[in-house]
Amino acid sequence: MKRLSTLVSCVCLLHSMAAFGEPTAFVGATIMPVSGEPIENGTLVIEDGKISAVGSSVRVPRNADVVDVAGMVIIPGLVDTHSHIGEPAGADRSSPIQPEARVLDSINVRDAGFKRALAGGITTANLMSGSGHLMSGQTVYVKMRDGNSIETVAYKKDDGSVDGGMKMANGTNPRRDAPFPGTRGKSAALVRQKYVAAQEYMAKIERADGDPEKMPERDLAMEALVEVLNGERVVHHHTHRHDDILTVLRLQEEFGFRVVLHHVSEAHRVAEEIAAANVPVSLIMIDSPGGKLEAQYIDFENAPALERAGVNVGFHTDDYISDSRLFMRMAALGVRAGMTRKTALRGLTLAGAEMLDLDNRIGTLERGKDADFVILSGDPFSVYTRVQQTWVEGVKRFDIDDPDDRAVAEGGFGALQPSVIHEFHGYEEGH
């Protein structure tokens, strides 16, 4: 009930209320619900921000607004598991492990990156700090609804707190002068030492058994790591080289945290090991190998190799490494390399939702789920296809026929302001 009232109060902030009160039916499109086979000439009905019906022989409610979308393709709203829109800034340069730093304390919801994301069909994103630290802080899962603050756009947990994961990295990006690590061995040792401390902190809490006298002193870093250790907070781990990937799996096994592997340039070399660890992977597809040492063997082949191995595969933009407006291209390059279209579309939607523990709400077009969807001019994996509309919780948030939205989709003078994309000269921060 508390959750419902939170939702309602958020909803009241929205400028467009078109979808509330009466249902809207989208008729005539090819619907790709991800939860099942594509539906030709399908109907999608939304009401009060939720999907109320989807199928080929759905009865359109008498009071519904009917939208003819014949010839179009409707897919679930895209889930970007790794993005840097909104200026997320967590850890600073004082130390390599800062689980207490929250990016929610830094997000600029007026950044044009949110508009670019909507133009690319993204309706949910995991906003994270960079990979220049072993642990750069708490991430935040955002819904691309209209809002004035991070609190109004963030997903909330059942207790009302902002939902998110924990950003970690290994390999070359966190390596620099002390107190940062200088080697891979030191990187792992520093992380293990911190998790051991968190285990002890957690044990003290358990021993206290609710007695305030026996509780350890509050420690923001330890509290966040306890959430990681008990599985509430998923680790989103930057990793590229095959041995670095295995190091993540080794630490994951030792400490039992839940982890999503991100980027994973050399996934094709250890696909079986990743599958055996039952760990999901969020891939980035880069137009050429290299750019830095640990990405020298990156290959489009990662996508089909992981699919064949039975790994749950998703994708991310790493915006501004790649532009959110071109997110679907990631999965298309997976198809180019041999991934099935079904898994590729799942990778843009449900797989990402699962990695963020949001698959009960988003990721497919099913009755009861959030009315987050994208209307496309055609095949999701064609270069000729354009996003026509993006809907979030039953509200149209992007429309190619709106001149302002079109300007965002295409760019132009002042179209992407305010922008916080920086010219990327170095690699000290890393991604």
Binding site: P289, L293, R336, A409, S419
Partner: protein, 412 residues
């Protein structure tokens, strides 16, 4: 006498037979896009001694025996990347092999690309895999004048085997991108105005240098000036022999570039030009071609106002336009001009226009259209093979041929 004549002929035949193996090939495509007229259905391209000797429908071109025949769904001319730094920069971004930008001084036109280009750089093979057969590479943006550029085929083990224009253009930068010029030295401009003043000052010096040479040539009493490598290169720019490739993005900086081109009456090519859509009339009137920024370039810094639609606007304004992979400092270390061209297709550019911008139109801007850029008899046998629409995300590059030699059979 008869005997020696016979042996000479035999020797020539042997040479011919050997070269037939090396640089003769027949390519047959379900559709062949030539960049020189309508596409040819069920087309055949015959390459002999590295040059196209015949092209046309299979029904009208006789396929010579003894030559390998390669089939593809789609055949295009070998692609041309009109501006890149591949070969000048190591693909792993290590400090010791980033040779595109020397920061000790703001103006160094004497730096030759041929003295740095690494023909075995892995990203050259990467570009070749996608059908790119010719690249315009060299010193990059970031200094007022960073050095020279070259044009090379994406093959060869040495610069000498790869290069076919060792001094193609002189690379310059205006605007904010040049404000940190010479940061390793003392000669650092702090403003746009100073950047332009420094470039004009150097061109004026070169004018004076050229005048002294001309005067000495006319008068035996006068000695020519001491050789000056910097001045020699700029003299070539002033004479119109070497174009000035000016990386510039903002509209005010584009105007500065055009102003300098007019003042010194030099051949100029605009590079990047992310706000070119604001100045279509001015650019067209100046007769300056544009190598437009990669479609997927990041919209930040000086390029914050770039648009996916700029290519369409330039092309349909009648401004000579080519596409490029550009310069990248991080990941992706290089873009692929085929992918960049593809993005413009969803934003108003027709497939024919996009193909032209990475073949014949690029060749014209680079001054190499007598050799490459289209499939016509007499031109180099450079071809790219695909298993479908080359621009579609899910199509594969399946083969690349340079001067009659299949240099890639990777399916990617």
């Amino acid at each position: 006498m008869r005997h020696s004549k016979f042996s000479l002929i035999a020797t020539l035949l042997c040479i011919a037979a050997f070269s037939a193996q090396a640089s003769d090939i027949v390519v047959r495509g379900d559709i062949v896009y030539t960049s020189a007229g309508d596409p040819i259905q069920d087309g055949v391209v015959v390459v002999r001694d590295g040059k196209i000797s015949a092209i046309g429908p299979a029904s009208s071109v006789s396929i010579p025996g003894g030559i390998d025949v390669v089939d593809a769904a789609v055949v295009t001319p070998g692609l041309i990347d009109a501006h890149t730094v591949v070969g000048m920069v190591g693909y792993l971004s290590q400090d010791d092999d980033q040779d595109h930008l020397e920061q000790s001084a703001a103006i160094q036109p004497e730096l030759r690309a041929i003295d740095a280009y690494n023909a075995r750089e892995p990203l050259i093979e990467w570009l070749r895999t996608f059908g790119v057969t010719t690249i315009h590479s060299g010193h990059g943006p970031g200094e007022i004048i960073s050095g020279q550029t070259l044009i090379a085929k994406t093959t060869g083990d040495t610069i000498d085997e790869a290069v076919f224009n060792p001094a193609a253009m002189v690379a310059a930068t205006l605007g904010e991108g040049a404000v940190m010029s010479g940061n390793g030295g003392r000669n650092t401009p702090g403003t746009r105005g100073k950047v332009a003043a420094m470039l004009r000052t150097e061109l004026l010096k070169a004018e004076a240098y050229a005048e002294k040479i001309a005067a000495a040539a006319d008068d035996d009493e006068k000695d020519p000036p001491a050789r000056d490598l910097k001045m020699e290169v700029l003299t070539s720019v002033l004479a119109g022999d070497t174009p000035l490739l000016v990386t510039v993005n903002r509209h005010n900086d584009i105007m500065t570039a055009l102003r300098i081109a007019e003042e010194f009456d030099i051949r100029m090519v605009l590079d990047g030009a992310s706000e070119a859509y604001l100045l279509l009339d001015e650019i067209k009137a100046a007769g300056v071609p544009v190598i437009v920024h990669p479609a997927m370039a990041r919209a930040g810094g000086e390029r914050e106002n770039l648009s996916f639609t700029t290519a369409e606007k330039l092309i349909n304004a009648g401004i000579p336009t080519a596409f490029q992979s550009g310069y990248e400092g991080y990941v992706p270390k290089t873009r692929v001009v085929l992918f960049e061209a593809a993005i413009t297709l969803a934003h108003g550019v027709s497939p024919d226009q996009a193909l032209a911008a990475i073949t014949i139109d690029a060749a014209k801007i680079l001054g190499i259209d007598d050799r490459v850029g289209s499939l016509e008899v007499g031109k180099d046998g450079d071809l790219a093979l695909y298993d479908g629409d080359p621009f579609e995300y899910t199509t594969h590059a399946i083969g690349t041929i340079i001067e009659g030699v299949q240099v890639s059979d990777i399916v990617k």
